[in-house]
Each structure stands twice: as structure tokens, then as C-alpha cells.
């Protein structure tokens, strides 16, 4: 599988990152098998979080067996110094490892949170201490919030080495600033910060729960994913072709093999085909009256 430099970290990540949230819906034996399956494809970057049910615990055994082959990303939603330390200790324990390669501020959403994590008593102070103590190697940040907030974070956090954010043909077709994740990608590239793409496989929202109760949804994702092999492939190709370092799989374990196949076969996507995909998605969800043309 193709690898790309993850910013200045010195690590070359495979163009697909294994989102270990998928393990949450499997029993331990199935979880072990999925990790072996992912490793068989050569995937070398794993991502997990304490909020993904018991994914950390289920990842643990195979992660420890293959620790040398994997670059491990984990994250915390804590914003304070104390909270971040507590969650880091907990994740190290649950994963059963001595070190996390990339520790990320998870799901930044509000300006106040950016103020808080960058303050003296903020999470990043804990991150930096942990880095000095060799418990983590690199600092990252994840957000599906406003792109302008991520741009601010890139400007304000000097030792940030990766950012994780949504990128797919739906957002790429929208011009409003609130969808301008391409600007985040461009700024991160300028600063040589690694870029990790999420929601590459998002097809849209689930129907309202009175139409489709949560228990009747066929996939575990909180959004409705694309699920046909061809769609998965073109969504992967699109995300990888934007220049992201690595694309994270959709969380549902049923989709992981298709995404691995797409990642293993990735060999670029020409611009006319990228536009074709954006245009198709735009018309699926267009407020403009029905049009004859593109």
C-alpha cells in the first residue's frame, strides 16, 4: 500500500489509516482477526480513542503483538491539564502499551476549547510533559468543526504535527467557508503538518428516527455511509487524490475490507473524474431546480 510522509513526524503512513472504532462491534476473536486482516494489507497507522466503546481493550492484544509494525494514534476529549493526563494514563493502560506515537486533541468544536487547551492549565501542557517523558511522540488535533477553528489551531499550536478533519465530495462541492476544509488541507501542507481524512465515505444523514429507529440502521456509523464497492472505491480515490496523508476507514467493520481493497489498488484519480464525483453528489442534494446540464 502506498505510504506518504505524515508531516514532520518522520513517519510514513499508509494511505489508509485503520480506524479501530470498527473493533467496538466485534467480539475479541473477531477483533483479533480484523487487526490481522488490516495488517495483511500493509496498513501501518492505527487510530483509536477512549470514547470508542471498548475498542482500546480489543485492539490491545494484537497491537502489543505487532507494536513495532504500527504507528499508534489515540486521542482525548479532555480539555484540561488534569483531565488529559488522566485519560492518557487510562488509554496507555487499556491499550497495554508504553507509548502512543500520536496523541490528539479529539473533536475540537468551539473557540473557547481552543483557548482552554492552549492555556497554562490546558490539555496541551499535559501533552508536552508526556512528550518529554517519552509517553507520546507527536501531538495532533482532530475536528469536524468549523474549518476556521482548525486554521486557528494550526496557527496557534506550534508543535502540532497532524490534523484530522472531514474531506469528501459533498463538502468539496460547497463553497461556503463552513465547508472549506480544502483551506485546512492547504494550510497544513504549507506548515508541513500531516493530514488525516475522516468522513470520506459519508453518504448523508440517516432518516429521522421516527422513520428509521436507530436500532434498525444497517450500519454502525452515525452518518449514512456509501456501501457499494464502486462507491467506496471512488470515495477513497477522491479523498486520497486531494493530497491527504492518509484516509481513515468508515467505522463499521462490514465496510473495512472494501476500503482496504480500494486503498491497496489506489493509483490516483484524474481531475475530470474528481469533478464528476463532486457534480454527481451535488445534484443528489441540490436546492436548485432540476437541471438538464452540469
Amino acid at each position: 500500500m502506498e505510504t506518504r510522509p505524515l508531516g514532520d513526524t518522520g513517519h510514513d503512513s499508509t494511505v489508509m489509516t485503520f480506524g479501530a472504532i470498527a473493533l467496538n462491534w466485534l467480539e475479541q476473536e473477531g477483533a483479533d482477526q480484523l487487526v490481522e486482516h488490516v495488517l495483511d494489507y500493509g496498513v501501518n497507522h492505527f487510530d483509536v480513542a477512549p470514547t470508542y466503546g471498548d475498542a482500546e481493550l480489543k485492539l490491545g492484544p494484537k497491537l502489543r503483538q505487532h507494536r513495532e509494525e504500527t504507528f499508534l494514534g489515540c486521542k482525548t476529549q479532555e480539555r484540561t491539564y488534569e483531565g488529559a493526563w488522566r485519560k492518557l494514563d487510562r488509554s496507555l493502560n487499556r491499550l497495554g502499551v508504553d507509548k502512543i506515537d500520536l496523541y490528539q486533541v479529539h473533536g475540537l468544536e468551539y473557540d473557547e476549547e481552543l483557548d482552554e487547551i492552549t492555556g497554562d492549565d490546558g490539555a496541551l501542557t499535559a501533552f508536552r510533559e508526556a512528550k518529554e517523558q517519552g509517553l507520546i511522540d507527536h501531538i495532533g488535533l482532530t475536528s469536524h468543526g468549523d474549518p476556521s477553528l482548525i486554521l486557528d489551531a494550526l496557527d496557534r499550536i506550534d508543535d502540532l504535527e497532524s490534523v484530522m478533519f472531514p474531506l469528501n465530495p459533498v463538502v468539496a462541492g460547497k463553497d461556503d467557508d463552513e465547508y472549506d476544509y480544502e483551506a485546512v488541507l492547504a494550510r497544513a501542507d504549507e506548515k508541513n503538518v500531516g493530514t488525516l481524512g475522516i468522513k470520506a465515505f459519508a453518504g448523508g444523514s440517516w432518516p429521522p428516527t421516527d422513520e428509521l429507529p436507530e436500532a434498525d440502521r444497517p450500519f454502525a456509523n452515525w452518518y449514512r455511509p456509501v456501501t457499494a464497492p464502486d462507491e467506496i472505491r471512488e470515495r477513497f480515490d477522491f479523498a486520497a487524490a486531494q493530497g491527504l496523508t492518509s484516509v481513515i476507514n468508515a467505522g463499521d467493520p462490514k465496510l473495512v475490507t472494501m476500503i482496504l481493497e480500494a486503498a491497496a489498488d489506489y493509483d490516483g484519480m484524474d481531475e475530470a473524474a474528481q469533478r464528476s464525483l463532486i457534480e454527481r453528489v451535488r445534484h443528489d442534494d441540490s436546492p436548485v431546480p432540476e437541471q438538464l446540464h452540469h
Binding site: G173, D175, R275, S276, D284, H293
Partner: protein
């Protein structure tokens, strides 16, 4: 107002900022949106279709009024787009603009709805309003490959149009044809690029074409019209959506 990627790609090597522009055949105002976003001084959106005129006006009024500088380039697009746009309801064979008054002309998805006879008259008129040194952008579709399912729907649309109005509804001119055609009208060819490949004919496009075929079939006499209309509906349901063919972008310049 989101600018389609086709328009963005067609305009990204064109000089639009501060220019007087004409969107020939406004449709939903897609090229108008792109010209305004690229800083056009003024855009004349010309269409002979009242619904299209209204759609174009509404899109521009709805978009760009959020007070943000969406371009990130400092160009004022808040509250300003409406002032820079004039939607003209007119026939492109007689454009209500003076000679030599336009710097940039777009024909985005226009030529395929123009039959050959009308195309010549429109090209004459575009050359008339274009100022020396003006740019012309022509974006359209190559003929569909054999076996394309949407080809059957378009053939039916053409049959209904021929019977009802005596001319085809759609003509997919090859890129090479329009290149030579506009060269024959004095435009110097600059470049060709592929805007979409494959072209995504979504359910929304397919049903829009089926609606148009049905409305023209309704103008056909008796049983023929009914049969064409029913077939259009059936084809649209069978096809659903299809990604096939190529949309190209041509750019020309008028000698100084």
C-alpha cells in the same frame, strides 16, 4: 451560492476580474455564479426562458449575502452580487447589448440545446457584442458513446421535439466541431480541457430530461405523443442514473 466544479475548472485560467461578462443561455445561472465569484465587474445573464431568468436572479440574491468574503481574496461579494448582475430575457440571436461591449462570454452547456441553424445566428451575435481581445468559453458535451442508456432518452426527447417543433432538442457537438466552428466566426482557439469524465447523469438530470420529453410529446398529435410520453417515463425509471460521456471546455480569444 455554490459554483459548480465544471464552471470553476472552465474559468480558472481565464481573466475575469473587473471584466464585463455575458453568460449566453443562463440556465440555472451556473456560469453567472462563477463569473461573479471570480470578480466580474458586471454579468449579463441572457436567457429566453422566464423560469431560468428567475432562477438565476434568485440564486444570486440568496447567495453571497451572508456578509462573508467567500472568496478569501478581499473582493466584496456581500450584498454586491445583485448590483453586478443584469438578467436579460432575450433571444440570443438578437442580444440587447451594443457592439464591442463584452470582454468575457460563456456558453456553458448552451450549444447542445441549440440546433445547427440557430447556432450560426447566435455565433454571429456573440462576435458582434464581443470587444476586441474578448475571451469566449464554450463548455459542452461530446456525442455519447454507442450503447449509453441516456442516449435512448435523448433520442426520444429529440423525436418529440422534431415532431412538435420541427427541430431537435439536443445536439451534442464534438469538441473539434465547435473549435472549428467558432474559429470560423473569428475566434482564435486557445485551449481544450476535460471538465467531466464520465459525465454524471444523475436521477435529477434524467428526470428533468424525461419531463422535457413528455412536455414536448404533449404537443405532438394523438397517439404518437402519448406513446412518446409513456416511453420517456419508462426510460427514466429504467435508467435511474448513468455516468457516461465527456464534458469538455474550450477557450478562445478574439484578436485585438
Amino acid at each position: 451560492m455554490d459554483v459548480p466544479q465544471t464552471v470553476t475548472a472552465a474559468l480558472d485560467d481565464r481573466s475575469v476580474a473587473g471584466k464585463r461578462c455575458l453568460e449566453a443561455g443562463a440556465g440555472a445561472g451556473n456560469a453567472t455564479a462563477g463569473l461573479l465569484a471570480n470578480g466580474a465587474a458586471r454579468v449579463y445573464a441572457v436567457t429566453n426562458d422566464r423560469d431560468h431568468a428567475r432562477t438565476t436572479r434568485r440564486r444570486v440574491d440568496d447567495g453571497g449575502n451572508d456578509g462573508d468574503d467567500d472568496n478569501g481574496d478581499g473582493s466584496a461579494d456581500n450584498d454586491g452580487d445583485g448590483d453586478r448582475l443584469a438578467v436579460l430575457e432575450a433571444d440570443l440571436r438578437s442580444i440587447p447589448l451594443p457592439d464591442d461591449s463584452i470582454d468575457v462570454i460563456t456558453a456553458h452547456g448552451l450549444c447542445n440545446v441549440i440546433d445547427p441553424a440557430a447556432l450560426s445566428a447566435i455565433a454571429e451575435e456573440l462576435s458582434r457584442v464581443a470587444a476586441p481581445g474578448a475571451q469566449l468559453v464554450v463548455d459542452d458535451y461530446d456525442p455519447l458513446p454507442d450503447g449509453a442508456a441516456v442516449g435512448e432518452l435523448f433520442a426520444l426527447e429529440n423525436a418529440a421535439s422534431e415532431l412538435a417543433r420541427g427541430r431537435p432538442a439536443l445536439t451534442f457537438y464534438p469538441a473539434a466541431f465547435l473549435r472549428r466552428f467558432f474559429a470560423g466566426h473569428g475566434w482564435k482557439f486557445q485551449r481544450e480541457r476535460t471538465l467531466l469524465e464520465p459525465v454524471p447523469w444523475t436521477e435529477s438530470h434524467v428526470s428533468a430530461h424525461a419531463d422535457r420529453a413528455a412536455s414536448m410529446a404533449a404537443e405532438c398529435p394523438g397517439e404518437t405523443g402519448d406513446a412518446l410520453s409513456a416511453t420517456a417515463r419508462r426510460l427514466a425509471a429504467d435508467i435511474g442514473s448513468e455516468s457516461v460521456g465527456r464534458m469538455y471546455g474550450l477557450a478562445f480569444r478574439l484578436p485585438e
